[in-house]
């Protein structure tokens, strides 16, 4: 079987340079790992996976609706990143480059899921993967409210409010202008606030 390559834009951009300040020990260690991985060292790439997989999962989970899809996106993202390593320039920030690739993989999965499994979406959101409390009423209401948001608005509010990404970073991740990310965040917050308005008044 052959792999479906990600679009070139997913692996070739954006260039996110590291700060002009001298690299910290952590950045230097990461750069060493990147250079070794580019030379074909699998253990070095495993070190990069270890460093970035949690954040990559968070990015993917903000975009797709289920834990399984997020895991798929992370795996595909790392695999595509490994294949495109020769195109990565070590002066870039590896994390930002990787997150863009994972976000693209997640967006791709979300698009395919939307076409194929549209009826299952609310269920996949509500289905617990580890948290037994996910079936309670609040969670169900949140799932319903999130389902009424667009996929992009949902990703933006989770990336910003939960994961702490900045508007510009979210724009780069999702391939949208910063102003659009800002506007999506505003609409998503307003919408969720309205949908869950009487949350506090309930016992």
């Amino acid at each position: 079987m052959t792999a479906i390559p990600l679009p070139l834009s997913a692996v070739a951009a954006p260039v996110v340079p590291m700060s002009a300040e001298p690299p910290t020990a952590d950045q230097a260690a990461e750069r060493a790992l990147v250079l070794a991985a580019q030379a074909g060292d699998h253990e070095a790439f495993a070190g990069l996976v270890r460093r970035h997989q949690r954040r990559a999962y968070a990015v993917a989970r903000a975009i797709v609706l289920s834990h399984d899809d997020a895991e798929d996106a992370v795996q595909e993202g790392f695999l595509h990143a490994f294949r495109a390593l020769d195109r990565f320039r070590p002066e870039q920030a590896f994390g930002a480059w990787l997150h863009r690739i994972v976000a693209n993989a997640a967006l791709d999965i979300a698009r395919r899921r939307k076409v194929r499994d549209a009826d299952e979406l609310p269920e996949t959101l509500a289905s617990p993967h580890r948290d037994p409390a996910e079936a309670d009423e609040l969670r169900a209401r949140l799932a319903r409210a999130l389902d009424t948001l667009s996929a992009r608005q949902r990703a933006v509010i989770v990336l910003h409010d939960v994961e702490g990404f900045k508007h510009a970073e979210i724009g780069a991740l999702l391939g949208i202008p910063e102003g659009t990310a800002r506007s999506d965040l505003h609409h998503a917050r307003t919408h969720l606030r309205r949908q869950l308005r009487n949350l506090r008044s309930e016992p």
Binding site: M1, T2, A3, I4, H42, F45, A46, V49, R50, Q53, R54, Y57, A58, R61, A62, H67, D69, E71, D72, V74, Q75, E76, F78, L79, F82, I109, R112, L125, H129, R130, D131, A133, E134, L138, R139, L142, A143, L146, I157, V158, D161, V162, L185, H186, R189, T190, L192, R193, L196, L199, R200
Partner: protein
């Protein structure tokens, strides 16, 4: 001088309750064993190449999976085009058959007339004969009372 920015309205600020709900709903799986397992799976896919791609990707690369991506709208459009072409072909065939039939009838009639005459009818001869007739001759023959 630019106007001072308006303070963000309450609606644009993050609602702590909603944010907490979102955080819980999107919480990553906890525990080191999970992350170690995920790392192993990622590295296994890296080492074995494309064969370890996720199911979502794998199901797209089967030769028959392309059929699943047909949309009914595409099929409807293709059907309309095919029906239009078939209709045009049938129309052209009908017109050609009509022309052939008319020609065959004319030839048969001509053959029948020629069989009753001692000499074959020659178009040139007919046109020569017509030249000697008055322009209104056929009208006169057909409607003699009018003349």
């Amino acid at each position: 001088m630019s106007a001072p920015r308006k303070p963000a309205s309450r609606a644009t600020e993050a609602d702590p309750v909603v944010t907490e709900l979102l955080r819980t709903a999107h919480a990553p799986p906890g525990g080191e064993p999970y992350w170690a397992g995920l790392e192993d799976r990622i590295m296994a896919s890296v080492r074995s190449g494309p064969a370890r791609l996720s199911l979502v990707v794998q199901e797209r690369v089967s030769w028959w999976s392309g059929f699943g991506e047909f949309r009914w709208t595409d099929l409807r459009a293709a059907g309309l085009v095919a029906a239009t072409l078939a209709l045009l072909a049938a129309g052209a065939s009908f017109v050609r058959e009509q022309a052939d039939d008319a020609r065959a009838r004319e030839l048969a009639m001509r053959a029948a007339i020629e069989a009753t005459l001692p000499l074959p009818i020659d178009d040139a001869m007919l046109s020569r004969a017509r030249r000697h007739l008055a322009p209104d001759a056929p009208e006169r023959y057909l409607n003699p009372l009018d003349y």
